[in-house]
Every structure is written in structure tokens, then in C-alpha cells.
Amino acid sequence: MATIAATTPRTQATARRRTFSARQIVGKALFWLLVVFIFLYTLFPFYWAVVSALKPPESIGQFPVNYWPTTIDWSSLQYVFENQGFLLSLRNSVIISVSTVLIALTLGAFAAYAMGRMRFRGKNFTLYLILSMTMFPQIAILGALFQTIRRLNLYNTMPALIVTYLTFTLPFTVWVLSNFFKAMPGELEESALVDGSTPFQAFYKILLPLAMPGLITTGLLAFIAAWNEFLFALTFTSTGDFRARTVQPAIASFSGRSQFEEPWGPVMAASVVVTVPLVVLVLIFQRKILGGLTAGAVKG
């Protein structure tokens, strides 16, 4: 533990003594042991998913376990990509997530511009209203939404999910983007107005391009949330066909070729297919995501 709080700036006092005491060596060793443990803890399960997806399905049930397989077997992945239901659910997930994010970004960018840069009566009320939306549990509106969806004959359709996903993507988008707009320098817009542009022109000619990084981050985070959503997808779509069922409930109920075969190979293969794009996106945009995730939290 001693070394963990090592934020201390290197002072001259530490530089004076170069010889390490036994206590320091033990401390260092424990520190690196902890670091290695955290790396293993965070990354091993993902490694294990990949390895299990690439094992021959029949070797899945072996015990003791083989940690480092020497051969690659594509049959689980092949099974997943030949599985019509899974492919359809993949298509549905892409369509639903992209649509809901595009709608949330479009509506959200307008609202956030007004919230971040304009003064109007009822602004605080609107802000609180939208913020309280991010607080409340999806389950609180599940029944009422389900009822409406059935009345409108939207059960087991993609629009049902696209629209209901706005309950969490839109408030989030408005809030994060209004912070982005707020943080922008005010003179830009004023100079545009002096030039004779209308406020709307100032918005889409000057501010929108500047807000592009914010839009990308927000869109990505909203996309991840929509892509990973389970409760609405499970409740508002049916198990029987894949007209609207997304990948999350599909993976939750994914089974093997026969009911006697342990489905873990295909399940892991499907999991990897669904997760790898997310992990790659997150790693590419990690700086922005770190900023977007904690943007609000630091200001307090």
C-alpha cells in the first residue's frame, strides 16, 4: 500500500538516498504484484472469451483447462456467421442503435445549443426536467411503454426500440452537448452576428463544426448505451423471429447446435463478434471517452 499514494512530487529528500532498504524493495514488489494482478483481472476474461471462441467446440468441457491453445479452430465463429437469427439480430442492433443516436444527436444538438448559449425563460426548469430523465430507472416506464407499443401495433418492430431508446440517449446527449457549447468562446458567434448572420446561421456555420468532437464523443457513448441495452429489447421484441430482436437478448438466449451440446463455443464467438467493434472504438477514442465520461464530475 505504501507506494500507491505515490503522487508526491520527487523532492530532493528522495533523491538524496539511492540505496533501497529491504522495506522499500518489498513495497516495490507488492506494488508491481498489484499492478500485474489488476491487468490480469481486467483483461483475462476478454482473453478467455477470444480463446474459447477459437477452440474446437468439443474441447470446451475439458478439465483441467487448457490456458494456451495451440491450434485455432474456426468452427464456432463459422457457426455464428451461418446462424441466420444471429446475423439478423446484428443487423437490427446496427439499425436501431444508429437511428436512435442520429435522432438524439439532431434533436439534442439544437436543444443543447439553446441551453448552452442562449438565455430564455424556463431554461433551468427545462434543464432539470431533462436531467431528472437520466436519473430515473427504465423499469419505471416499462409497463406503460409496453401498453402503448401494443396499442400502436409496434410490438416486435424496430421503431418501438428506436423511439424508446430516446428515453436515455436524448437526455444524455442534451446534457453533455450543452456543456460543450457552454465551454466555447462567445466572441465567435458574436462576430458572426455582426457579419449579419442570423443566430441559426451562426449555429450551423460556426458552432456546429466546432462542436464536432463533442458530437462524436456523445454519439459514441450514446451508441454504446443503445447497443448494450437489454431490458427494452427483451420485453418489446419476441423470441420467435428476428424482425426486431437485438444482439443482447439474442446472446442471452443463444444455444448450441443441439440441446445436448454445451453452447459455450458459439456463445463466446457471438460475444466476441458483438464486443470487438466496441472495444476497438473505445480504444481509438479513449481520450475523448475519458473526457466525456468524467466531464461533468470534475467541475463540482
Binding site: 500500500m1 505504501a2 441551453m115 406503460a144 466525456g292
Partner: protein
């Protein structure tokens, strides 16, 4: 879900800085105000339609005998607090409540401790810290359904990799050490552990899965809190001759408290509405059923819209109480 929740309490903090009475007077200001309303209107409308209105409907349904499939026999009736009475005297529902409490307290407390450790690590000076910050994003990015199935596979009672570790690899790792080795190896179980099948272990297993998935978010929020602590605090402490351990308790932790509270709010609210992890790992069985699962089952399985709505309202109220308690704490914190 957690990433949306992340923004909430700070908003309250942030809005404090914004001038509140913004009534524009000039004609140009009025035109701008009209524009502002035009820009805000679509979002407000959508939020009202897909969230506020359904919420009001849920509250109304919770006092009726509503069903999903058509109208109930004898028509839709106002049943007063019958649904609430039924739920609060129903053993399964009470069980679901306590399951949810156990899950929330267990998961949030463990991931807070883990989160603090990871945040302190990343905030310290060592070579691999950037790599570590990247690595912890992986569990965060993995969908809950996937992480639940993946861990269920790893926790498997017959051929799970964790049973391999506990009963074979780890004992073997220590066994050869002279004198103390065998006794360390003796700590590990002799037989495979039924993590998923044993009723005593199921909730703990689900908590372990949730902790893995949500610790990164906790750590990142706390890291943001750590990074705003000025370095001279530590320098002063160093001059005082405080040990690292004392520094942590006397300086770091008190300064970290606001960030810790914010992170606790997000995670508590998120854990209290748990659905995915428990559903995917165990299905809707009574032993591990959460409030959200109970509500969803009342709706989909039993076709009791009224009762399900009452369950939803109860979850909503619990979360409301939690928010009040936490905002109280934040206010006390700020003096």
C-alpha cells in the same frame, strides 16, 4: 447505462454558476429567446412523450387492475392501494427487495474500495499507468449481457476456468514452497465450487460479475477527483513527515470525498435497478430475483400491468429516497 447517469449530480453543481433570471429585454434578445424555445421544443416534446407521460401512466396504472391483453373482466377498475398491499405482503416481492439491497450494498461497497485502489494507482507515477488506464476501459466497454455470460462460463461448476485456478493451478503454485507452501495450498478448496448452482453463492457470484464490469467507471470518476487535488497538499504533508498511509487518510481521502459521493450516487442508483446481470446468469428465479426482474415478470409473465406498475413505482420511490439522502450528504459536505 452508467455512462448516462454519470452526468447527473454535477449538473446541479454546474447550473449554480449559470445566471438564473435571464429575461431578455431587447428586441434582438426576444427574437433569440423565441429561437431558443424553437430549438428546445422538439427535445422537450420527445422527453415528455416517451418518458414523462409513460411515468404518469405507470402511476395511474399502479392503482388499477389494468392488464396488457385487452381490458380486464368487469372493465378497468380503480383498485385503490390493492396492488401495493399485495406486493408489500408478498414474500417473493419482499425477497426481491432484500436481494436488491444485498446486491446494491455488496456491489457498490466492493467496487468503491477497488475503484479507490485503481484510481490511486493510475494517479501515481509509474511506467505502465497509461496502459492500465486503457486496460480498465475494456470491462467498461463489454456489454453486461456478454460479461454475464462470459463470467457464467468462467464460474461453471464442472469445467469453469476459475475452478481450474482454485483447485489445481493456485494450489500447485504454492505447494512447492518449503515449510509454508502446503499450508497456503491448503487454503484453496479441494473440490470444485458450485458458484452458479449453490443458493448460498449465487448472489455473491453475481456481485463479483458486476464489480468487474463497473469498477472501471468508479475508478475513472475517482481519478478525475484525484487529479484536481493540488500537488502542494502532498508536499506539505511530506515536509510534515507523514507516511504515505497517513497522507492517504489525512489528506487524499477527505479531498476525494466530493468525487466519492458523486460516484457513489451514480453507482447506487444504477445497482438498485439491476436487471441484466441477474437475469442473464440465473433467469427469473426467486433466490436471485431483483425488484426490476419482479416488475418485469409481473408485466410479461403474469400479465398484471397494474401490479407491475406498482412495483415500478416502488423502485422509483426507493431511488427517489436514495437521491434525497445523497443530495443531503452532498449539501452537508459543502457546508
Amino acid at each position: 447505462m452508467s455512462q448516462q447517469a454519470a452526468q447527473v449530480p454535477t449538473a446541479q453543481v454546474a447550473t449554480r454558476g449559470v445566471p438564473t433570471s435571464d429575461v431578455p429585454t431587447s428586441s434582438w434578445g426576444k427574437a433569440r429567446e423565441r429561437l431558443a424555445w424553437i430549438l428546445v421544443a422538439p427535445s422537450v416534446l420527445v422527453v415528455t412523450l416517451v418518458a414523462l407521460f409513460p411515468l404518469a401512466q405507470s402511476i395511474w396504472f399502479s392503482f388499477t387492475n389494468a392488464r396488457l391483453a385487452g381490458t380486464p373482466r368487469g372493465g378497468l377498475q380503480f383498485v385503490n392501494i390493492e396492488n401495493y398491499r399485495y406486493l408489500l405482503t408478498n414474500d417473493d416481492f419482499i425477497r426481491a427487495f432484500w436481494n436488491t439491497v444485498v446486491f446494491t450494498v455488496g456491489s457498490v461497497s466492493i467496487e468503491t474500495v477497488f475503484g479507490v485502489v485503481v484510481a490511486l494507482l493510475i494517479n501515481s507515477q509509474f511506467k505502465a499507468k497509461g496502459l492500465l488506464r486503457t486496460a480498465i476501459l475494456v470491462p467498461w466497454a463489454i456489454p453486461t449481457v456478454v460479461s454475464s455470460r462470459l463470467w457464467a462460463y468462467m464460474f461453471n461448476g464442472q469445467y469453469g476456468v476459475l475452478n481450474d485456478l482454485l483447485t489445481i493451478r493456485l494450489p500447485n503454485m504454492f505447494d512447492w514452497i518449503p515449510f509454508i507452501g502446503p499450508s497456503i495450498a491448503g487454503i484453496f478448496p479441494d473440490e470444485k465450487v458450485a458458484f452458479l448452482a449453490s443458493p448460498n453463492l449465487q448472489m455473491g457470484t453475481a456481485i463479483a460479475v458486476d464489480v468487474w464490469k463497473t469498477t472501471p467507471f468508479m475508478a475513472l470518476l475517482l481519478l478525475a477527483g484525484l487529479q484536481v487535488i493540488p500537488g502542494d497538499v502532498y508536499e506539505a504533508a511530506y515536509v510534515d513527515g507523514a507516511s504515505k498511509w497517513q497522507q492517504f487518510w489525512q489528506h487524499t481521502l477527505p479531498l476525494l470525498r466530493p468525487a466519492l459521493l458523486v460516484a457513489l450516487i451514480f453507482r447506487t442508483l444504477d445497482a438498485f435497478r439491476v436487471f441484466d446481470v441477474l437475469w442473464v446468469m440465473f433467469g427469473p428465479i426467486t433466490q436471485t430475483r431483483s425488484l426490476a426482474i419482479a416488475a418485469q415478470q409481473a408485466l410479461v409473465d403474469a400479465d398484471r400491468l397494474g401490479r407491475a406498475s406498482a412495483a415500478s413505482v416502488i423502485i422509483f420511490l426507493c431511488i427517489g429516497v436514495l437521491v434525497l439522502v445523497y443530495t443531503r450528504l452532498v449539501k452537508v459536505e459543502e457546508g
